[in-house]
């Protein structure tokens, strides 16, 4: 799209051309019309040239559309003139958010020859997670004589998704009852026959199926196979971003911490080759009605990136409580699934809902972030209900939690 900036020269020139044309009409002297053609031609052709040049320019921006915090991104804006007409001057202006670039505005002026191109390079270092527009790119140009007004063209923005911070977790004791997974477990109930651990002598009560006949024949004593216990974790992360559930003093910090914890947990679970999903009551600018669609619990990096992408864009919501969300989603969870709730507040209603979920066979873990009122009372209640609760006040607490 190109539009014209208002200029005053057109009226002056018009008066000149009209007066000269009148003189020429009366006198019929050819040199007068040569003058009219000279000036009118300069104006009209210059105007056409400017409009044609700027609308023909091809503008492309090359930059990764996703990045992690602190990652250096090299961006390049290429302006190409595919026509045979040169462009006398072009001013390029690209606006960038301060969260990802040290300079708010990238500007250049240059001339473009026929079928030539110019590149403008700059570097981005994202400092904060989010979904940022790059641009729009504004192009300005005008004619050589300056007799017609300058023309601007605005090229659409592209977007950069900056993932949230991910902290390396050493180990997380996520409760699970799903047997036959790939994670080692301490409870012998979940012995995995595909993971042999050793042999021992037969004791009365051992199943005949566990007897290793080869080693029995070798030792002439009954020997029984031993298997390593393992579990499978199917986890759903529940992130509460209801603005009213965070203490007003630590609203921003606590919510960002919650997002960081959620991202780190998703990453850890995926690294362990387990399934992870995400539900939240926050808002997503790219979602339908700005709502976040629940992400199904799946394994793999693709699922993780999908979760991280949502966490990059997520913002506070206000009209859906976390309790209602869990209640709505709980029927989709099967026995043995794990539900990790990351929230800035846990009332009685939420605790009851979590207890109900636990009773239906879902493993619950509650992570409280930021300043929590009546924490001790809450811990006591959770203890009674046998719901594991962890409180992370700030980043130092998080580092301690990671270390343990």
């Amino acid at each position: 799209m190109a539009f014209r900036i208002a200029g005053e020269m057109t009226s002056t020139l018009l008066i000149f051309i009209i007066v000269i044309s009148i003189i020429g009409s009366f006198t019929l002297d050819s040199f007068v019309f040569h003058v009219v053609y000279l000036i009118a031609g300069t104006f009209l052709i210059g105007r056409w040239w400017t409009n044609y040049s700027i609308s023909s320019l091809r503008v492309t921006r090359s930059v990764n559309s996703h990045a992690f915090l602190g990652e250096k991104l090299f961006a390049q804006v290429t302006i190409e003139n595919p026509t045979i007409l040169p462009v006398p001057w072009v001013q390029v202006r690209e606006s960038l958010p301060l969260e990802i670039s040290s300079s708010k505005l990238i500007q250049r002026s240059f001339t473009l020859g026929p079928r030539s191109r110019v590149s403008v390079d700059y570097t981005l270092i994202p400092q904060k997670r989010g979904y940022y527009p790059l641009g729009p790119i504004q192009l300005s140009s005008g004619d050589l004589m300056g007799l017609s007004s300058e023309v601007e063209r605005i090229c659409p923005s592209s977007y950069l998704t900056v993932y949230p911070r991910i902290l390396p977790l050493k180990s997380v004791r996520i409760p699970s009852r799903s047997p036959l997974g790939i994670l080692r477990h301490h409870q012998p109930v979940y012995e995995d026959p595909s993971r042999p651990m050793g042999k021992r002598e037969y004791s009365p009560g051992d199943s005949l199926r566990r007897i290793d006949w080869k080693s029995t024949a070798a030792t002439s004593h009954l020997q029984v196979k031993l298997h390593e216990p393992s579990i499978n974790i199917e986890t759903v992360l529940v992130l509460n971003l209801d603005q009213d559930d965070y203490h007003h003093k630590s609203l921003y910090d606590a919510s960002e911490l919650a997002i960081t914890i959620t991202a780190s947990l998703a990453h850890w679970i995926t690294e362990k080759r387990q399934s992870v999903g995400l539900i939240s009551n926050g808002l997503d600018t790219m979602g339908i009605n700005h709502r976040i669609d629940p992400i199904q619990s799946r394994k793999g990096r693709t699922n993780l990136m999908q979760i991280l992408e949502v966490l990059a864009r997520i913002t506070f919501g206000r009209d859906l409580s976390i309790t209602a969300l869990i209640r709505h989603y709980r029927p989709r969870l099967s026995w043995g699934n794990s539900l990790i709730v990351v929230t800035g507040h846990c009332g009685t209603e939420l605790l009851d809902e979590l207890y109900q979920a636990q009773k239906s066979g879902i493993n619950i873990m509650l992570l409280l972030v930021g300043q929590i009122q009546a924490m001790k009372e809450l811990e006591r209640k959770a203890d009674v209900l046998n719901i594991p609760v962890y409180h992370i006040l700030d980043e130092r607490d998080l580092e301690k939690w990671i270390a343990t």
């Binding site: 000149f16 051309i17 000269i20 009409s25 006198t27 052709i45 040239w49 001013q91 500007q107 110019v118």
Partner: protein, 531 residues
Amino acid sequence: MDSNVSQSFSELKRGEYFTTVISHIMVSLMMGCVSISLVQLAERIFTEWSGNYLTILVVFISAERILTHSMVEKLDQEPKVLYHSAEWVTIAAGLRLFLFSRDPTGNLFERLSELHLNLSILFTGEYISVLIVLLMAWLFSGSFVRDLEELRLDKLDLSWELGILENRRQVAREAIINRILVLGIFMVFFGVLTRVDIQSLFGPYEALQAPVINILVYFIFALILFSQTQFNVLRGRWMWNKIPISQSMGRKWLLNGVIFLGIILLLAYLLPTRYTFGLLDLVRVIVSTGISIVLFISALLAIPFGWLLSLIPNSRTIQEPLESTDLPPIIPQPVYSTPNPTLQLIQTILFWSFFIGLVIFSVIYYFRINAQSVNSLRIGEMIKSVKGFITQLFTWFHGRALIIKNMVSSVYKYLINVMVKSPGASKLVFPNFNRLNSNQKIIFFYMRFLDRARASGIPRKPHQTPSQFTSTIDQALPDLSPELAKFTGAFQLARYSNHASTPEESAHVIVLWNKIVRSLKEAGKQDANRE
């Protein structure tokens, strides 16, 4: 790929110095061009006077003003006034001495020695006029250079608010352009005066047809100045915004400007500058050409109807086509030899198109800018209603044209369906019946007879000869056997022999045909009633 290395301030100043020098030279030369027009006009009025020296003096004074401007601006008010006074006394004295030295009637020293007797010999008409011209050139050059200085880059400009700085520079540039255009109008006017035979104003002085190349050169210099000042304005803006500029920008600006100017000059030279026909004559030619085209199309569409009408006896012969309209005679041009009339027509159309286009553009632009005034006069509503009416008219014409087109197409499709697609049908031919000879008429009616027979349910089989088909028809129309035999015999003679049928024979065949067709119709009706 062009380098995007930014220019430092010193590099910008170097580039600007070059631009400034060019601008100053253009101003001086433009002043010279203006003086040439003045000299030509004066020489027309005072035929004995020769003023070629004036151009050089004007260029010199203009250059002096430009070069001393920066030095003078540094002076305070009083020293400045003193300097200018001294300057003008020097110029006046120098001019007087110069004119004395040019005077062929007397010697310089004699003149100087007469001064103490009569100071009035200093102030002759020529002297005062030339002094006034030099003063005007000095003033104009001063104002030009003041505005050009405004466009120069200065580190102090960085302390200005961009909006104010930009406005000042734009105002200075617009002042330059306005001054150039106003001077240009005067130059054109003077140029026209030297070439037009206005005896009532200037007495019995013949038109000189003085050369006007100086006027064109003036505008070329003006365009170069426009280009340089525009570059200065842009450069200042970029400097203030700290926008890096590519190093080759200045060089390419000059190159692009030269190429652009060359193209414009070529176009200005090639486009027509006179017209052969008047506007109304041209309109008449265009309208009559349009009417001829419409009549031609109507004649094409009327051919089938004309043929149908010609079947009626005593119908008239087809009229000769309408005579095409000739172009009006070319207005005799005493100066130019008579060129190709078509080329003249094209030139005239181009010329008037440009002229009318300019008028329309001006009117539209005026109304757009003064939208409020237009609305208050309710002209806008009038224009809207006229526009609406014209749109409705076009829609109506378009609708009628579509209806006619559909009618013609459906008739054609019907005829194709009836004639071509039916088995054994003969091809539909639209001859001019009156131009057929007797043989052709007989054959024509036999073919129509076959069509009628097929329509009545008695089609001719492809292997049947005319005699065999006659036997078939006999069975359906036993009463008409003799007529059928004669009809078929006449056809066989006309079609397969060298016999040239006479008009009486063809007229008799027509009578037979009518009888046979009537009987076929009756036979067809009886069959239908029986069913």
